[in-house]
């Protein structure tokens, strides 16, 4: 029924009941129905929501994803907070597929309630940092929809996006490339500054930013994609960003698209037409690919013609003209008219062939088809204006045509020509006027105007013969129905016929009418289109479409490139022997462009299963996973993925016990009787020796503590909370990790009864709250310590931070390194433990 366009909303309650149905097909159809009608029947739609909420907690990632998908598609404003919560949760889900769905849900929620923008941007920021190819495309899409102006969010992820690009699914590629084009325009200098300007400004010679180069290099292979949209996206990126010398590579790929469906051809040709104006050389080798077949649709023919005309130059003009000759005989008259226009343009642009073209066009004047003749007349008129003196013969010939041609535009053109050059054809001109005067009343308006023009000009040059005729024409025009014509007649009469009243203007009438007129310039209609981003809808329509993002101009000064540097957590800087060894084994992996990790691991025959599985279950240690993990962390990235390093360090630590790796404290160990700098702490949380030793030794490490943000002052309404892992044992419970919090009150008012409440512990996570702070004066900072038992997992601990007025949901996610405690033992003890 929906398919037939009927309104099926009356059945709403009956249908929604089936949402809990077991049959998957029915369930899916109910989803379709629900998404379509929920907006109209908001109250009833709420009935179904609990089903989805249950689905969100399902252990199967696909069910979680589809529940989120449908939930976010239901456009009911009441459930916005539920959606927001669901998106936030899904954004930190283990499964990349669920995270992808979360990214999809963001624009949906945004369109439902744009007040959520700030919160959504936070989620986007988080998802942008994601390292999976699955998520990248979707989150960039969300970014473009919600906050395309927040270009600063891209900085940190720029290099990652460039490197992942080739593995992203094709639709995502298009979106990312378009976004990166805009980004690059704001962040890099133009590679095409001309040398003179540079030397004048005495700037140092242009050196391309390495990141700019990275983008160009990583997108190039995508020109070979089978998806036309991807090819076009890369082509526009090269056109807008690449140095002149390198743009040529895209021509080949674009020409290949011309073999595709006619709609694709249409769009590609539009873009080629624009490009060929600016960079003619690029397409010249492919000239013949734009030759027209009689079976092409007219719109394609006309576009190809446009391209051919743009490509014409002195060397290939003869071939092109020969080709045009074939086209002129086509059955498709619109196309013939366009061809004649094209010949005209070739003739104006290339002086050498002007005479040949003109002769060819004059021959067309004897064509039987009126449209063709009319079009030729118009074009000839334009051509003649350039060099009238030599062509009085042609003008005479055209004067004869007035008897036959009926198309008003052509008649008007001829009259104008005769009037303009009446000195070259002194005998014929009055005669033509006589004829026209006879038929004046039956002419079209545009012709009438030209008759008046002609009469006026003749009156001025040859008043003896034409005085009476002019009077007659002007009198006819005086009583014309069209006020333009009446107006013109009155104006001209005052101007040319001397009376006592007429003023000084009279003397200048001749100068006014017979002034030298500049020859018209025949231009392509695609001339100014390149200010739109190529490949965009706006470019195609030559008008700004809704939501079009202007392509920014190159900046004069390059913004600071260091913003793209991803900060590497301190402890990874201490390169262990292990790591160095690996670097030797896989040199310059970070520079690999074509294939990054995931493909590599897929090739190893295991498929992605292991990779994904590994990603989902970070803390587990086994050989097979480690392999996938290595592939992951080397996923063609310069900046080491932060989240993965601890796991990696952990793996190395556990798998190879001999060269011990110290994740947290980089300090050398003072005592010599200890063999290892620090020993592997078991993941299972077994503290191998008594913890009393630890604090004393650990204290020097405190300087390197890193603090994380728990609550930003914006979201916390002036209350900001930072936390760090103090790396001291928590006094109340040895299994807990001590978390030190710095609470700062940035508001003007006192914050009262600050406490932690209603912790929602995740399977076994325990939280030891800090004592309630009764009040915090404005500007004051308080420091408290709380304990969390993470159960040795990297799952975040979620809890609520309460003040007397508000509750804030916050979560702490521990890096693995923080879950370990250093332990001292002798070599023998170590061996003993190892043996267990």
């Amino acid at each position: 029924m929906i398919a037939r366009g009927k309104n099926a909303s009356d059945l709403f309650p009956a249908v929604v009941k089936n949402v809990a149905c077991k049959n998957i097909e029915v369930k899916k159809l109910v989803y379709v129905y629900l998404v379509r009608y929920a907006e109209e029947q908001q109250d009833l739609a709420l009935l179904s929501i609990s089903t989805f909420q249950r689905g969100l907690k399902d252990p199967n990632q696909l069910i979680r994803a589809s529940a989120l998908r449908v939930l976010s598609s239901i456009r009911v404003p009441i459930i916005v907070p539920i959606m927001m919560l669901a998106i936030k949760e899904a954004a930190s889900d283990m499964s990349p597929y669920v995270r992808k769905t979360a990214a999809h849900a963001i624009p949906k929620l945004y369109s439902l309630d744009s007040d959520q923008k700030d919160q959504l941007i936070e989620v986007i920021e988080k998802l942008l940092a994601d390292k999976t190819t699955l998520v990248a495309g979707s989150v960039v899409m969300a970014f473009e929809e919600v906050c395309p102006e927040r270009i600063d969010l891209i900085h940190k992820n720029y290099r990652k996006l460039c490197n992942l690009l080739i593995d992203v699914e094709e639709w995502g590629q298009v979106v990312i490339i378009n976004m990166l084009t805009r980004y690059a325009r704001t962040q890099f200098l133009s590679p095409n500054q001309n040398a003179e300007a540079a030397s004048l400004a005495k700037r140092k010679p242009y050196v391309m930013d390495p990141d700019h180069r990275l983008l160009l290099r990583n997108t190039k292979p995508l020109l070979q994609s089978r998806n036309a949209a991807v090819v076009m996206a890369v082509a526009q990126l090269y056109f807008h960003l690449a140095p002149k010398a390198e743009v040529g590579v895209i021509a080949k790929a674009l020409v290949r698209l011309l073999r595709s469906h006619s709609e694709v051809q249409y769009v590609v040709l539009q873009n080629v037409a624009t490009m060929s104006i600016k960079r003619r050389g690029m397409f010249e080798p492919y000239l013949k690919s734009f030759y027209i077949r009689s079976t092409d649709p007219t719109q394609i023919k006309i576009l190809k013609l446009e391209v051919l005309t743009n490509l014409a130059n002195e060397t290939n003009i003869s071939t092109i003209l020969r080709e045009f000759q074939t086209y002129i005989r086509s059955m498709d008259k619109d196309f013939v008219a366009a061809t004649i226009q094209a010949i005209g343009r070739c003739a104006t642009n290339i002086g050498k062939v002007r005479d040949t073209c003109l002769n060819g066009l004059v021959q067309l004047l004897s064509n039987r088809d009126e449209l063709v003749v009319a079009e030729s007349v118009v074009v000839i008129k334009k051509l003649l204006q350039m060099q009238p003196a030599q062509h009085s013969e042609i003008i005479k010939h055209m004067a004869k045509l007035t008897d036959n041609i009926q198309v008003p535009m052509a008649r008007a053109s001829i009259l104008w020509l005769i009037g303009e050059y009446c000195e070259h054809v002194p005998k014929i001109a009055p005669d033509v006027l006589r004829k026209m005067a006879k038929s004046f009343t039956n002419e079209e308006d545009i012709v009438k105007l030209q008759v008046i023009n002609l009469a006026a000009k003749l009156y001025l040059t040859n008043s003896k013969q034409s005085k009476l005729l002019t009077q007659y024409v002007l009198n006819l025009a005086k009583y014309d129905q069209n006020y333009d014509i009446r107006d013109r007649a009155r104006f001209i009469r005052q101007l040319i016929v001397p009376t006592e009243k007429s003023g000084a203007l009279n003397k200048y009438a001749k100068k006014l009418f017979l002034a030298q007129k500049p020859a018209p310039i025949l231009e392509s209609s695609f001339k100014d289109r390149d200010h739109f981003q190529l490949g965009s809808l706006s470019h195609l329509l030559n008008a700004k479409a809704v939501g079009y993002q202007e392509l920014p101009d190159w900046p004069d000064e390059a913004p600071d490139p260091s913003v793209r540097n991803v900060e590497v957590p301190e402890w990874t800087k201490c390169t262990s022997r292990e790591k160095r060894k690996e670097k030797v084994e896989k040199p310059f992996y970070s520079d690999s462009e074509g294939e990054s990790g995931p493909t590599e691991s897929a090739d190893s025959g295991e498929g992605l299963g292991s990779t994904v599985g590994c990603q989902a279950e970070v803390p587990r240690v086994d050989e097979g996973h480690e392999r996938g993990m290595l592939a992951w962390s080397t996923a063609g990235h310069r900046a080491v993925p932060t989240g993965l390093w601890p796991a990696r360090a952990l793996l190395t630590a556990c798998v190879s016990p001999c060269p011990p790796v110290t994740p947290p404290p980089p300090q050398p160990v003072p005592t010599s009787n200890i063999v290892s700098t620090s020993l592997v702490t078991d993941l299972e949380g077994l503290t191998l020796t008594d913890t009393s030793l630890a604090p004393a030794l650990l204290s020097p490490a405190l300087g390197a503590l890193r603090s994380y943000e728990l609550l930003h002052r914006m979201t916390g309404e002036g209350l900001s909370v930072e936390y760090c892992f103090s790396r001291r044992p928590f006094p109340h419970d040895a299994h807990m990790v001590a978390v030190q919090m710095q609470i700062c009150n940035n508001t003007d008012a006192e914050v009262k009864s600050l406490r932690i409440s209603a912790p929602k512990p995740l399977s076994g996570t325990r939280i030891h709250e800090f004592p309630e702070i009764e009040s915090l004066a404005p500007g004051d900072t308080a420091s408290v310590v709380m304990g969390i038992d993470f159960c040795d997992s990297t799952q975040a601990a979620n809890f609520q931070l309460c003040t007397h007025t508000r509750h804030f949901y916050v979560s702490i996610q521990p890096p693995v390194g923080e879950l370990m405690a250093p332990v001292f033992m002798s070599e023998n003890e170590f061996k003993k433990e190892q043996g267990e």
């Binding site: 398919a3 989803y31 994609s225 709609e263 007219t298 005989r329 329509l541 992605l608 994904v612």
Partner: protein, 382 residues
């Protein structure tokens, strides 16, 4: 403004509030409504994928097929799009989600009450190689490699070739149980110009060694397509002699076309079909052919001549008289002849698959390579 011809409907139509982007396939328009800026090719490409999927599911993409399977169409669209962003477009994933209808299955379904929607959730969607399903089984292990060369050409009045291009696409029919790496090594990869790959091909190895290595999707797929560089043009395998003329001031004209083979390395030219779009003024045609049959549709003015095989001993020809509308002016242009043909076991560009290796499996699968040369957009101007 109304377009006269269906072909001439512009793909993008702006309206005051929306933009309509449409494609025309198999006599159906697929239209999408756009509100904001989006790359038009993005939409067009997606619509074509939708049409491809329907074709794949229902065998044909016609109005009746869509009407009959409206439920599946809904389910498919639901899976392919999420809030206007393409989700799953790979046919393998879709087939796992929603099984294509067959007669047998619809009978079984109506008896047992089960549905076309797969019970298992696809895992392919999660992977980085979405083109391959997990656990594909085949009874026999074989891989066929079809090299199809298409010749695009425009031949002018005097028989001179003014434009020629050979376009090659390699289609693979894998029937292998597990993911393999095939390395078809081309004898002369230098011939290749402007290659476009299926996403499964590893680009890096191609760049460095000119070897294609990939894990094949199951089912037919186009592995690569490329052009043969224009310096190495070869002789066109057929020639056409034509005499078409319309007499001034009379309502008839002459039509005489002969097709013959050029040197083809001993291979026969088969499946020759000629189609001609005659001028509007033509009423009907009285022709006799020495071989094959011809039809003339007086409404669309299309002449189709199905020649079949060409034997060099007896060249096929089509002769006769063209009747024009009385009083209509003589058509100025002679119609162009569009020709299709096929040559089996010949790669006209001289390209050869040198080796087809499979790695990653212990057993030896059966493999074969087939060459076909076809006419692509082959047009003779008269």
């Amino acid at each position: 403004e109304k377009a006269v011809d269906v072909e001439n409907v512009p793909p993008v139509i702006p309206t005051p509030h929306h933009y309509l982007i449409s494609i025309y396939r198999d006599k159906i328009f697929f239209v999408s409504v756009i509100q904001t800026e989006v790359p038009p090719l993005f939409v067009i490409e997606f619509l074509h994928r939708v049409a491809d999927t329907f074709q794949d599911y229902f065998g044909e993409c016609s109005e009746t097929a869509i009407k009959d399977n409206v439920v599946i169409v809904y389910e498919l669209l639901e899976e392919m799009l999420d809030n206007g962003f393409p989700l799953a477009t790979e046919s393998n994933i879709l087939k796992e989600l929603i099984k294509p209808p067959t007669i047998l299955r619809s009978v079984v379904n109506s008896i047992t009450g089960s549905s076309n929607v797969g019970d298992t959730l696809p895992t392919g969607q999660l992977s980085n190689i979405p083109w391959r399903r997990a656990g594909v089984k085949y009874t026999n292990n074989e891989a066929y490699f079809d090299v199809i060369e298409e010749i695009d050409a425009i031949i002018d009045k005097s028989g001179k070739v003014i434009y020629e291009l050979i376009f090659v696409s390699c289609i693979l029919l894998p029937g292998c149980e597990l993911a393999l790496t095939l390395c078809p090594l081309f004898q002369n990869p230098r011939l290749l110009d402007d290659v476009s790959f299926h996403p499964c091909i590893r680009f890096k190895r191609w760049e460095s060694e000119r070897v294609l290595s990939f894990i094949p999707p199951d089912g037919n797929f186009r592995l690569i397509s490329y052009r043969v560089s224009s310096q190495n043009l070869v002789a066109i395998p057929v020639y056409v002699k034509h005499m078409i003329s319309f007499k001034e001031n009379s309502s008839s004209g002459r039509f005489d076309v002969t097709i013959g083979p050029k040197q083809n390395m001993g291979k026969t030219v088969e499946g020759v079909v000629m189609t001609v779009h005659m001028p509007k003024a033509v009423l009907n045609m009285n022709l006799t052919s020495t071989q094959g049959t011809y039809t003339f549709d007086p409404v669309t003015k299309v002449l189709t001549w199905d020649v079949g095989k060409i034997t060099p001993q007896k060249l096929p020809s089509l002769k006769g008289i063209v009747n024009l509308q009385s009083g209509a002016p003589k058509p100025e242009e002679n119609p162009s002849l569009n020709i299709q043909f096929k040559i089996q076991q010949l790669a006209i560009s001289g390209l050869k698959v040198n080796r087809l290796d499979m790695y990653g499996e212990k057993y030896k699968p059966f493999k074969g390579v087939k060459y076909i040369t076809k006419a692509g957009k082959f047009q003779v101007r008269t």
